[in-house]
């Protein structure tokens, strides 16, 4: 590791007070640090408490997901795909399933599509609740996380009942979903959604307008739409900066095309940490509404939930790119097939990887506590960065 000693004289408002150059302090935030959610490492140079430069060093958790995809059967890919972003496992599986189905030209039964849409929205709620709990924790509020997890537990229970898993659901199959949901499941989902909706104000009221929380997040880490474009940022982080782009509306997949009147894309214009937080918070309400709309339709949609697959599943020669609006942002799989059982090449476009690149722009000039606030508000999953 190269030792770096940057010496700068910072002369600002306190004229004459900062004339002596002081040695800056090099600080490694991560890979083992409470606020990096895993093994992201930031190498920062500090002048007092002000960040002079910041450099995210990624790759501590690189597992070579794309290469692993290339030596797996199309059905086996799904089990790997749901692991890179462990908080949106269902949505990750979905992308692979959609890509393979498209290459095969496969028709997915209507009921499967609606169930997938419902589960994808429930997964989105789970994901967002995780961040709604952990972000205040990073700002120092220790209570919201327990309220968020209470709601997570409610949704988690119905997800578990259907899929059998609590984290890596593995419920998607090429051509549909694994199996029909248990009897009476939709009623319990409806109850869970209603429960979460009725209790969300607890979490909301605890943190959203807290004076200290506002002071810590308003105007901090402002991300401009230009930066969003330049860095390819997507998802709630981009929408908080006023970039009103959501695949569910702008290029509908699954059943979103028929849900347009229930679909509310939450946007903010300021682009600071608080608007990113609010985007996620309000998105939970929006997703609860979507889940209800899905349940309404599911009541009248019957039929099979998957299709019978041949013993060996070979995609015809060609390539496709399937992207989905994952909880964290755009998640895409570019799959090239040479007619084998496995993809010949695979490229995974994960949301977090793009989103955190902007940290080099956002962090310099901020204070160390703001660094934590900004880092938390970027809503990343380290596995999604490192793939």
């Amino acid at each position: 590791m190269v030792r770096e000693e940057v010496t700068v004289g910072v002369g600002d408002a306190a004229a004459g007070l900062h004339e002596f150059p002081t040695t800056d302090m090099t600080l490694n935030i991560g890979p083992q640090h409470p606020s990096t959610h895993g093994v992201l490492r930031l190498r920062i140079v500090l002048d007092g408490e002000r960040v002079v430069s910041a450099e995210p060093i990624v790759g501590y958790m690189h597992r070579g997901a794309e290469k692993l995809f290339e030596v797996r059967d199309y059905r086996q890919i799904i089990v790997l795909a749901n692991r890179h972003d462990w908080l949106s496992a269902f949505s990750n599986e979905l992308g692979v399933a959609l890509a393979v189905e498209r290459m095969l030209g496969m028709e997915v039964p209507e009921r499967a599509t609606w169930l997938r849409t419902l589960l994808a929205e429930l997964n989105r709620i789970l994901n967002h609740l995780m961040f709604l709990g952990s972000y205040p924790l990073e700002i120092g509020a220790i209570t919201p996380v327990f309220y968020a997890f209470r709601e997570r537990e409610t949704i988690q229970a119905v997800m578990e009942e259907a899929a059998g898993g609590r984290m890596h659901f593995m419920f998607n199959r090429v051509g549909g979903i694994k199996e029909e949901v248990p009897a009476g499941w939709t009623g319990r989902v409806r109850q869970a959604v209603a429960d979460v909706r009725s209790r969300m104000p607890d979490l909301d009221g605890l943190i959203r307008d807290n004076e200290i929380f506002l002071a810590r997040t308003r105007g901090i880490g402002v991300l401009t739409p230009e930066q969003v474009d330049a860095f390819g940022i997507s998802g709630p982080v981009a929408r908080a900066s006023g970039v009103d782009f959501d695949l569910r509306r702008d290029e509908p997949y699954l059943a979103y095309g028929e849900l347009q009147e229930s679909l509310r894309v939450v946007t903010r214009t300021v682009g600071d940490c608080h608007s990113r937080f609010e985007c996620l918070l309000d998105q939970v309400y929006a997703s609860l509404d979507l889940a209800d709309a899905c349940l309404d339709r599911l009541a009248s949609v019957t039929g099979p939930v998957n299709v019978r697959l041949p013993k060996t599943l070979k995609a015809p020669e060609g390539h496709t790119y399937a992207w989905t609006e994952n909880p964290l942002g755009l998640n895409g799989y570019f799959i090239v097939s040479r007619g084998e059982k496995t993809p010949w090449r695979c490229k995974l476009r994960s949301a977090s990887f793009n989103n955190i690149q902007v940290l080099t722009e956002l962090l310099p000039g901020t204070l160390l506590p703001d660094l934590v606030a900004i880092l938390g508000s970027m809503f990343f999953v380290v596995g999604d960065i490192d793939k």
């Binding site: 209570t143 080099t360 000039g365």
Partner: protein, 447 residues
């Protein structure tokens, strides 16, 4: 009341104890502090648990009652690590420097009236001095050294940052704390803690609208501004949430005690909780009538005699601990600069002005024979109403949507950042999206 008044110790009652009474008191204070610390840790975890829909520790001992004791013992059997880069003597002494003053501060806190211990009549207080409260302030100032030296001697960046923050924070809030209690001295006319408790025994008679009644004696009621400033300042002084910046675990990992383990760490932990107990006890002494029973109980004649006051006193301390816990469960952490700004630009000037107002009122009421109660009634209440009205009716300052606080221009070229003049060629979805977002691109351009 006369026989009760006789129970109240005066300065003359101190320094007369026989040696074995002193030994009993010293050991008693020490034991009380350790017991209160163990209780406070458990109490905090239980209360925070309830506030977070959990039940808190319930495995060790009856209903989890021995949890903090078990934690303490566990710490003793952990490996004691001496970092290679540490400045060894200072690293070794820092926990001692933090813990000892924490114990000492309690020596002047009055726990009860004069009682009889094995036939010896003695006040339930280790000692008292004409400058009693100064002992507490001196001890809390000494405690800062332990923290600063710990961070400095660890030879590591996180502890150093934590200790620098801590030093700046503690001395800043010491100013506010010191100023907040000046008004108490003004009213009590003494700095001795037993004298201040004595002075809060009963309030002055207030005649309002033809009615005569005893005004409240507690300085929390008489001097509300002082009490509020004191409460805020001691939260900063004890490094507790929302002002727990020195050990902000999401930023600085463990803060000043990152490199400490085993019993050395336990001493810092002990010192923090003893400090909490001490400032709660000082709040009870200075503002909440000390060991005297609160109003509904004080109707009972025996409430302030014998050993009963110990109960009221402990109750008030626990109330203080509860407030600390409540704050911790509710509030996010403030940012260092916001916190310092609040201390220096709000608390200090308000405390100074308040001292001037109180002093002026007292002098005027004596020199020109005003009744302080009258002034409070006919001037204070309208002023209070006016202030409240202004506070409530003041239009909420609409937050500027494009504030860029703390985001000065990026230093370009400091690190290989992708060139921002890179124009991304519009892809088909982008064209569609540009059309959608075109109206929203007005503001927010980076400086």
């Amino acid at each position: 009341m006369s026989n009760l008044a006789a129970e109240s110790p005066t300065l003359a009652d101190f320094g007369t104890d026989v040696w074995w009474i002193i030994v009993i008191k010293v050991v008693g204070i020490f034991a009380l502090l350790v017991a209160l610390t163990l209780f406070a840790i458990l109490f905090e975890r239980k209360v925070v648990g309830r506030m977070q829909q959990r039940i808190g520790p319930n495995r060790v001992g009856p209903r989890g009652g021995l949890q903090s004791l078990a934690d303490g013992l566990k710490l003793a059997f952990k490996e004691d690590i001496m970092p290679a880069l540490a400045d060894k003597p200072i690293y070794f002494l820092a926990p001692v420097i933090a813990a000892v003053p924490a114990f000492l501060a309690f020596s002047v806190i009055p726990i009860g009236p004069i009682v009889s211990i094995f036939g010896e009549r003695t006040p339930l207080q280790l000692t008292d001095l004409p400058v009693g409260v100064l002992i507490v302030l001196a001890c809390s100032a000494m405690g800062v050294y332990g923290i600063v030296l710990a961070g400095w001697a660890s030879g590591s960046t996180y502890p150093l940052l934590g200790s620098l923050r801590s030093a700046a924070q503690m001395i800043s809030y010491e100013i506010a704390m010191g100023l907040s209690i000046v008004a108490v001295f003004l009213y009590a006319g003494t700095m001795s803690t037993s004298g201040i408790v004595e002075a809060q025994e009963s309030g002055s008679e207030v005649s309002a609208f033809g009615l005569n009644f005893d005004g409240p004696g507690w300085y929390a009621v008489v001097l509300p501004v002082s009490f509020i400033i004191y409460c805020i300042a001691v939260v900063g002084e004890t490094n507790r949430a929302p002002f727990d910046l020195p050990e902000a675990e999401s930023e600085l990992v463990g803060g000043f005690h990152t490199e400490y383990s085993s019993l050395k760490f336990a001493l810092f932990y002990l010192a923090e909780y003893i400090n909490m107990v001490t400032v709660s006890a000082l709040a009870a002494t200075l503002f909440l009538g000390g060991w005297r029973a609160p109003w509904p109980i004080s109707i009972w004649d025996g409430a302030n005699s014998g050993w009963w006051p110990v109960l009221w006193f402990i109750g008030k301390v626990i109330l203080g601990l509860f407030v600390f816990t409540w704050l911790r469960a509710t509030l996010p952490r403030m940012r260092y600069d916001q916190f310092m700004r609040f201390g220096w630009k709000v608390l200090v000037p308000v405390a100074l002005l308040w001292i001037l107002v109180v002093a002026t009122m007292r002098v005027l009421s004596r020199e020109y024979d005003f009744n302080a109660g009258d002034i409070a009634l006919y001037v204070g209440i309208p002023v209070l109403v006016l202030v409240m009205a202004v506070v409530w009716l003041w239009p909420d300052k609409a937050p500027d949507p494009t504030v860029k606080e703390g985001v000065p221009p990026t230093t370009r070229g400091a690190f290989p950042t992708p060139p921002l003049d890179l124009v991304v060629p519009p892809s088909p979805p982008l064209i569609k999206r540009d059309a959608v977002a075109a109206g929203k691109r007005g503001g927010g351009k980076r400086a």
